[in-house]
């Protein structure tokens, strides 16, 4: 797909978003006391002033939509294909009401609610988001959101580092935590030269207990995922106790849909819950914008990064909401802030709030069960195909690993001929696993889709 420009338009084009007429412009210039627009830029050194920008000429809305349509049409999508691709971003059904709410100008064209009297809508919605996240995770406090699962994981690292005032420089991270989360944590931790992050070189398919020997009294944080990157569900109750014996904190990266069924991280003793909120009503959108979940136990309430909304009253005793504990944040504390986060994922948190409210208790459980049932059907069918082996010694949720008779990249190419978007090629992040495919199944996959996948896998098994 090559970008090109149709119907070039000459300069002097009307700008639909700038309302001034020429007469109004001239009147304003006179009021300012200058003759022309150029005079307003006298402070800009002349040699830099008014560069010619080599950009395509302006398109009308109609032409722009045509160009965008053409670009969009070049793509295959999780909807035009049958998709079994997950690995941290999931194709779920999003009820129409979600988008209809977040498309209200009152929500999407508002700023961060720094002026609470005219932002109660946003503030109460965030307060409800915080409440739903604590209910879902079994934690005490949720913030107003982070960028995504990866940056939330990195912020957990920063929080743990500061919690121990830098005296516990070791972090232990399971190799079955999403590779992007691990890489992002690593990037963020490079600001702390004494921090060592261990665990990545352990057996990817090992159990959490293999990490325990790495956890010592210098360890500030242990990070695991639930269900993990390979879809496996471990009860971390005993693991949490062992981590706590060494005085370290436990962060658990979650999939929010799975928590409608599973024991909560709060129950098994997690100190921090992070996670990717995208499955909660947010479109795949090629990777973003998504939603970082960040929740903690009460003990860490003042260490949490990002915004928090609290309930209070006005002078007449009417209930209202404000941003609170702002003294932790960058605009007050500057270089002493716990994080530099400012703009976060407000509208995505609203989408998740609407999604969780609409589905409610039974709807969210239903989606989780459908994912679970269909994934298990798929696993059992695939395990019957000659040459394929489902690796499932442990319970799994809606994703599982299949060992394939050929490199996954080759199989996926063949699946595409059948209009099937195959599972994630684990060899991309774990070079030794280039014959291992991570298959994700959600409520969007009908039984026939799964059967088609099995037929295609069978076809793809031989050269």
């Amino acid at each position: 797909m090559q970008l090109r420009t149709k119907n070039p338009v000459t300069s002097g084009v009307t700008n639909m978003f700038i309302p001034h007429t020429e007469a109004e412009r001239d009147e304003m210039l006179r009021a300012i006391g200058v003759n022309k627009l150029e005079d307003l830029f006298c402070d800009v050194p002349e040699r830099f002033r008014f560069p010619d920008l080599d950009l395509p000429p302006a398109l009308s809305e109609m032409e722009a939509v045509a160009q965008l349509d053409e670009l969009a049409a070049t793509n295959d999508t999780a909807r035009s294909l049958i998709s079994f691709l997950g690995a941290g971003a999931y194709h779920h059904y999003i009820p129409s009401a979600v988008d209809s709410i977040i498309r209200r100008g009152e929500f999407f064209t508002a700023y961060t609610p720094y002026q609470p009297e005219v932002s109660q809508g946003t503030l109460q919605a965030i307060f409800e988001f915080q409440s739903l996240v604590t209910a879902l995770t079994g934690m005490d406090v949720s913030n107003a959101s982070h960028y995504d699962g990866a940056s939330a994981t990195a912020e957990a690292g920063i929080m743990a580092y500061h919690h121990f005032r830098g005296k516990r420089p070791r972090m232990v991270v399971s190799p079955s935590v999403h590779p992007h989360y691990r890489q992002t944590l690593q990037t963020y931790m490079s600001g702390y030269p004494d921090v060592e992050v261990l665990g990545y070189d352990q057996d990817p398919f090992g159990t959490p207990d293999q990490l325990i020997p790495l956890v010592d009294y210098n360890t500030s944080l242990v990070v695991v995922q639930y269900p993990d990157f390979f879809g496996r569900i471990f009860d971390y109750t005993n693991f949490a106790a062992k981590v706590h014996e060494m005085g370290a904190l436990l962060a658990v990266a979650i999939n929010p849909i799975a928590l409608a069924l599973l024991k909560t991280p709060g129950e098994f003793g997690a100190d921090i819950v992070v996670g990717e909120g995208q499955p909660l009503g947010i479109p795949l959108s090629f990777g973003g914008p998504y939603l970082g979940i960040f929740a903690v136990k009460n003990a860490f309430l003042r260490k949490i990064a990002g915004r928090l909304v609290g309930e209070t009253v006005d002078g007449q005793g009417r209930k209202g909401y404000v941003l609170t504990l702002t003294a932790r944040e960058q605009h007050i504390r500057r270089e002493k802030a716990t994080s530099n986060i400012c703009t976060n994922q407000g509208l995505m948190a609203l989408a998740a709030t609407v999604y969780m409210s609409l589905l409610g208790k039974s709807g969210l459980q239903k989606v989780a069960e459908l994912c679970y049932q269909k994934a298990h059907y798929a696993a059992s069918r695939i395990s019957e195909i000659e040459g394929y082996k489902v690796i499932a010694q442990h319970p799994f949720f809606h994703e599982f690993v299949v060992e394939c008779p050929r490199p996954v990249a080759e199989i996926n190419e063949i699946l595409l001929d059948y209009d099937i978007l195959g599972g994630y090629d684990l060899g991309k992040e774990y070079p030794s696993l280039n014959r291992h495919m991570l298959v994700a199944v959600t409520e969007m996959n009908a039984r026939e889709d799964i059967d088609e996948l099995c037929d295609a896998l069978q076809e793809a098994s031989h050269e």
């Binding site: 084009v13 304003m28 307003l40 950009l55 508002a110 959108s285 960058q330 609203l350 609407v354």
Partner: protein, 487 residues
Amino acid sequence: MSEPTIFELSSPGRQGVRFPEADVPHTQLPHGLLRSNFPFPELSEVDVVRHFTHLSRLNYCIDQGLYPLGSCTMKYNPRVNEDAARMPGFAFTHPLQPVETVQGNLALMFAMQEYLKEISGFAGITLQPAAGAQGEFVGVMIIKAYHQSRGDVKRNKILIPDSAHGTNPASSAMLGFEVAHLPSDSKGNVDLDALRSICDDTVAGLMLTNPNTLGLFDENVAEVVQIVHEAGGLVYGDGANLNALLGIARPGDIGFDIMHFNLHKTFSTPHGGGGPGSGPVGVAAHLVDFLPSPVIAIIEDGNDEIPPLYGFANPPQSIGRVKSFHGHFGMLIRAFTYIIMHGPDGLRKISEYAVLNANYLRVLLQDVYHLPYKRICMHEFVVEGKWEDAPGVIALDISKRLMDYNFHPPTNYFPLIVHEALMIEPTETESKQSLDQFADVMLKIADEAHHHPELLKEAPHITPVGRLDEVKAAKELVLCCWIPDKI
């Protein structure tokens, strides 16, 4: 009357969405791994839609009127952007699809990189950062990586003018730098003498917002850049105020080494009540190897008949990854739409009119509101919200009173170097009439401040709630609804 919370509205047994029954054989759920209790609300679709519609009505928004928050660039958000981002061909693409199946996305992202390069004068772009603050973090990391790659390890200091955004020092501190503050001179520019005296071989870089947060273009910017470069430091540009510079000047030409963009300010992607933003970072030629990985590249050249194949590339000395996947693609679509609808002349017009509007409003207000730096401003300006002959009235009171006249207040108490600061950025999308109305109200409030100060002190009067007790909120810390059967 206040709106109940979603938990208070819950009625056990209600359902907002129905899903089809399972079409596969039943598998037993994993016994022993299940939660015992799920305290979630239960509502019908109409309950939910009404609840959030009620909430939405409690917000002020750009669609309603002028939103003059300084340094926030609250411009109108074109509706076509929203439709573009929701085109199924974009919205349903998975970030890990084979590149051959997402050439439309990659072509758009590649073009965005090229457009941002051209607009800013930089040699390389990453689209990955989620927001301006994360862009800054990336920028400071690149500064650090650059010096380290040259074995120049004693540079532990980042210089930050006293007028800077709070994210600048916070981002520097996150990477272990010491922050050294630079004063402004009497005209609001960086104090060159102070800069010269602090610049030595421990300076890693300078973070400069230009135009600065007073809305002033630093007249000595080229000299500032030169002084830092001569000391071996790099110059980081905070792109928060780029709305003043489109087609006016390119930071890369001036000599900046790095800059982040805020697509949610300059390029009209919506603020969404606090995000999502998007904070691409541009770098000069000597820094492209350090960009976060991956960047979008042409991996197979095309020709007249065959388009090129777009894909991902990892810069050789990359600082690594700063988030999952490839950045806020949905926001990139919106900004792309905005850029192609403006073209080079349209972009310049944005900045010209943003600056025209700010200066017009400045002139209407400056006889009544003290303007500490009397110069032609760029896209915003700062006045003091206090008068000696109206003791007791502070900037906050003026802001709250503006709400009674159906305007959103300006930014308060920032920048820190102006007392009782009111920082006003009207943006180019406001008409002369809208600015005249706002100025009339501001002048009326100034008059009230002198004759009926109680109107300001008790404001706002017409909003859903009055001034809220922030001390109580911070003391009692009620951070979630009462949830009936939460364990």
